[in-house]
């Protein structure tokens, strides 16, 4: 079995587990979101474009918040793993199906994200044991027991993820590359088609997240206006896009949401 181990893989494993902390356990500032995590992984391995592409795709699909006590797959882990595997697989063997490779890496990344989500449940169970262990000392009133409990919880999560990423990146790349290179052409075509459909899943997920009656009207109106603008000019300036969308939304919100009660 081929083992890939390098300074980049070790750095990627450490950076990935540090990012995972922000997803739920520390801060929750959004820096762990796929759109950033994918780009960081891409930057470490020298292919920023692939990182941004995979990150934004994963971001679209897994943008919805979890409901209740459900622990979802880690979208950060999905983007991060998929980017690392895709770039490394692309570097170690010759092929003509980069889109299929991205989709293949996304499938493996999703499985990894599931595992990281599941492992978070184990961490929370471990935290219960940590609480029981330190509680008598905490009830004695000192700060050190509670700090120790926090540090234990932090290191358990951090090292678990770092070791997991290290194993996946070092061992998984070679195995995944062998599996990919043995896939029949029709299977690869199917993966390419799946990559083509992915943004649609994301758009539908966001549609359901934001759906309101007034929202549906403005959605259709702006869709038609921008479709015609693009059809006519073939390109639109991103700043114009943002300003025009913000202005349209602002006018609707001002008139139909905020003015409603004062009238």
């Amino acid at each position: 079995m081929e083992i890939l181990i390098s300074a980049k893989i070790i750095i990627a494993a450490i950076a990935g587990s540090a990012l995972e902390l922000d997803a739920y356990f520390v801060g929750m500032t959004l820096v762990s979101q796929p759109v950033i995590a994918g780009a960081i992984a891409g930057w470490i391995f020298g292919d920023f474009f692939t990182g941004i592409f995979i990150g934004s795709l994963v971001q679209l699909v897994w943008i919805s918040p979890p409901v209740g006590a459900y622990v979802p797959p880690s979208s950060s882990a999905i983007a991060y793993t998929a980017t690392v595997l895709c770039i490394n697989m692309n570097a170690i063997f010759v092929h003509n199906d980069f889109n299929a490779l991205i989709m293949f890496a996304l499938v493996i990344g999703t499985a990894t994200g599931y595992f990281v989500g599941q492992a978070d449940i184990w961490n929370r169970k471990l935290n219960t044991l940590i609480l029981h262990f330190f509680e008598p000392a905490i009830l004695g009133g000192g700060i050190w027991p509670v700090m120790a409990a926090q540090i234990f919880a932090l290191t358990a999560k951090f090292f678990r993820d770092a070791i997991f990423y290290l194993v996946i990146f070092a061992l998984g790349t070679g195995v995944a590359a062998k599996i990919f290179s043995s896939l029949p052409p029709d299977f690869l075509k199917g993966l390419e088609k799946a990559l083509w459909v992915m943004p649609v899943i994301g758009l539908a997920v966001i549609y359901e997240t934001f759906r309101t009656k007034m929202g549906e009207i403005i959605h259709i109106a702006l869709f038609l206006i921008f479709y015609i603008v693009f059809w006519k000019f073939n390109h639109v300036d991103p700043a114009f896009f943002l300003l025009a969308s913000a202005l349209a939304c602002g006018v609707v919100i001002y008139n139909f949401v905020w003015n409603k009660r004062s009238r």
């Binding site: 959004l30 920023f48 943008i63 169970k125 758009l203 929202g215 702006l222 921008f226």
Partner: protein, 265 residues
């Protein structure tokens, strides 16, 4: 506010420090008492100041705050402020009454604050700011500058309100805790949520148009037919989501369906 600050044991720096420590609220999240360790970690330094030289009372307060705790991470500062204020103001002559008052206030506040926080941040600001970011990245064709702009805008859109709400609630709840609920009621969270959803749908409409026009043809080779296939897929995904299917299930099914389709065609 200055009058209210006068005579208080806890100063603004201690409040800020405790508020900052609430970033670790979820760190030792456990299935038994949820965020209790994180909350106690944040309030600990204040309890030491309030009960300086009164060990028995401080240990009673420790027992109170190591119990069950669960609320929204960014709105937890409001609870922190109220709890510190109650610990400071309520008399220790009747410890049972003090404990009852603090516990019932904590239990009464956790649920509503969690509900507001969940809907405002997890269902509103977070997906909206990320949608903006992804939209900018796709529009700028995955360039570094486009990505940088997207990240700055997304992070600012989410984190500026996060920090303002967090620390405003902390100071408000500590200095004028009795007005906390009337202050929260004055903020039109329903309207803010509705605005975010309407704006999100608007941006999504514009973004979808850009996506459909810029998409390279890969399935059938005719733009209108490709667009029709994508619209069909969109409707199917919406149907699946409304049938309570998870995103991961839809993702897996789509991959499998595309592979089967590739073998058939």
């Amino acid at each position: 506010m200055d009058e209210k600050k006068a005579g208080k044991i806890i100063g603004p720096v201690s409040l800020l420090w405790s508020g900052f420590k609430l970033n670790l609220l979820h760190l030792a999240w456990n299935f038994e008492r949820l965020q209790n360790l994180g909350f106690y970690f944040s309030i600990h330094n204040m309890l030491r100041k309030i009960y300086a030289g009164r060990t028995e009372e401080r240990l009673s307060a420790t027992r109170r705050h190591i119990g069950f705790f669960n609320t929204h991470i960014f709105f937890s500062t409001a609870l922190l402020g109220v709890m510190v204020r109650l610990e400071e103001d309520l008399s220790d002559e009747t410890p049972k009454a003090k404990e009852l008052e603090i516990d019932s206030t904590k239990m009464g506040l956790m649920g509503p604050l969690a509900a507001i926080g969940d809907s405002l941040f997890w269902s509103g600001l977070k997906p909206f700011s990320l949608l903006l970011g992804v939209g900018i990245i796709w529009l700028t064709k995955f360039t570094f500058t486009g990505w940088l702009a997207a990240v700055v805008i997304s992070l600012a859109f989410y984190n500026i309100p996060r920090v303002i709400i967090k620390y405003y609630l902390l100071f408000k709840s500590y200095y004028t805790y009795k007005e906390l609920f009337s202050t929260i009621q004055k903020v039109k969270f329903q309207d803010i949520m509705k605005s975010l959803k309407v704006a999100g749908m608007g941006f999504l409409g514009a973004f979808t148009a850009v996506y459909l026009r810029e998409k390279q043809l890969t399935i059938v080779g005719l733009r209108w037919l490709d667009s029709a296939v994508l619209c069909g897929a969109f409707v199917l995904v919406i149907w699946a989501l409304r049938s309570k299917k998870s995103v991961s299930f839809i993702f897996g099914t789509s991959v499998a369906a595309c592979i089967v389709l590739a073998y058939i065609t």
